[in-house]
Amino acid sequence: MFLLLLMSLASWAETMPTDEKVVGIFYMTPLFGHVHQSSSRTSASLTTVQCAHPIKVIESSKVLVAPEWAYVHVADYKGFILKSFLSEKRPNCFQGKYPKFFDSLNLDLAELYYWGRLYDHFLQGETRVH
């Protein structure tokens, strides 16, 4: 009887819709960035996004997210981006300000990938205002 109840509960959980909810739409602030597979700076990249790209930040009780990371939904991917890379306002991006100059750099895919990775690897700091 107990086993039967357990099985029915399990099947009910599988058919239940996920409890994901949208927190808001934010914008990517660095020139390039990655949507990561897990909330770690060196985790694999799911996709690369450009500055000012809209990012849907979501929440789910099934996904544990470290405090400095945001759980996001971009195109077909669900992954993680550092919160410090997201802004509520659309940023004034370098490639938006100087589109012709930036296009002329003709970055290849590897360079785009590395440009996004670069910002993940920077250790950042700022001294306080006196």
């Binding site: 060196t42 370098f94 300000k97 012709k100 590395y114 440009w115 920077f122 250790l123 950042q124 001294t127």
Partner: protein, 299 residues
């Protein structure tokens, strides 16, 4: 047969004329089109009386202003970045172009270097300073300080170097402080700066065939030369060491750590040929120790 051909020809030319008129209209602003719809000359007197001609004049001016603004926006798309923006962009670009050589895309433990360096800067009174540190997995380049975007400074630091020397967080912070003072003295920018940077930064290449990419290429090439071969001269090293001496004098514990650190580097370099170029780029720990040592007074 001929009549039907003529009819077809006339119809085709009518379509072409209509299409070209439509095309020419699509390039016009909505306000311009509105102006064309009304033929003011036939009803000029009535319009004058009603003050409508004035409003038409106003509209004309508005259209002209909007057109100029649109042209300016189009031209702005062909601007070179400003000098500050170019420095930040060139640093990122150099780091990306040399990603494999520098080996910065690797997993590293959290050493807490940024927190320690921030503490040292604040302790010495350097406020509102933004910095980024990039640990690199190579011994080919040991350290550097570059201009970043928005007034930031980007530090490069070799992880194999700090591991081989078994440096503490405080010692690493003092190395970074040296690089910070060198950067603030403007040695790097002075060594790397090109004529083109001053000439083209912030200007427009609107109407020119191509963007002059040698602006970035020359700059990036100079970055490599400076970091890999040129380094700093004795005078610059003397000035940096003396500045360190002055800043750290009021913090004897930091001064002692710095003095021991230079000694540590000197001994390490003697037995490690892997870092033989370090002395050429940063001359020289031996001299630095002399400059730091209190002068002996003759009795």
């Amino acid at each position: 047969m001929i009549i039907s051909y003529k009819v077809k020809l006339a119809f085709t030319s009518w379509i072409l004329v209509t299409a070209s008129l439509t095309f020419s209209q699509t390039t016009k602003l909505q306000e311009e089109k509105e102006l064309e719809v009304v033929n003011f000359s036939s009803i000029q007197k009535v319009l004058k009386k009603d003050g409508l001609s004035q409003s038409a004049e106003l509209k004309k001016k508005q259209v002209s202003v909007m057109k100029t603004e649109q042209q300016n926006l189009d031209k702005a798309r062909y601007n070179y970045p400003t000098e500050d923006e170019l420095w930040g962009m060139a640093t990122d670009y150099w780091l990306i172009k040399n990603a494999q050589l520098l080996g910065w895309d690797f997993e590293k433990p959290d050493y807490g270097i940024e927190g320690s360096f921030k503490g040292v800067l604040e302790n010495l009174g350097f406020y509102q300073k933004k910095f980024k540190i990039l640990l690199i997995n190579t011994s080919a380049i040991v350290r550097a300080g570059f201009p970043g975007a928005d007034g930031e400074i980007i530090f490069l630091l070799s992880l194999p170097f700090i591991r081989s020397l078994d440096l503490s967080k405080l010692e690493i912070s003092l190395l970074l402080l040296e690089d910070y003072l060198r950067y603030e003295a403007g040695y790097f920018k002075k060594a790397v700066r090109t004529e083109k940077l001053g000439k083209l930064a912030g200007t427009s290449f609107y109407g020119e065939k191509n963007v002059d990419l040698s602006l970035v290429e020359e700059l990036v090439k100079n970055y490599s030369t400076q970091v890999e071969r040129k380094g700093f001269n004795f005078q610059q090293q003397f000035e940096t060491t003396k500045k360190m001496d002055t800043f750290l004098k009021s913090h004897p514990e930091l001064w002692n750590v710095y003095y021991r650190l230079i000694g540590k580097i000197q001994n390490f370099l003697k037995s490690n040929h892997q870092y033989k170029d370090y002395i050429k780029l940063y001359p020289s720990p031996e001299m630095q120790l002399k400059w730091l040592s209190p002068e002996e007074k003759a009795l």
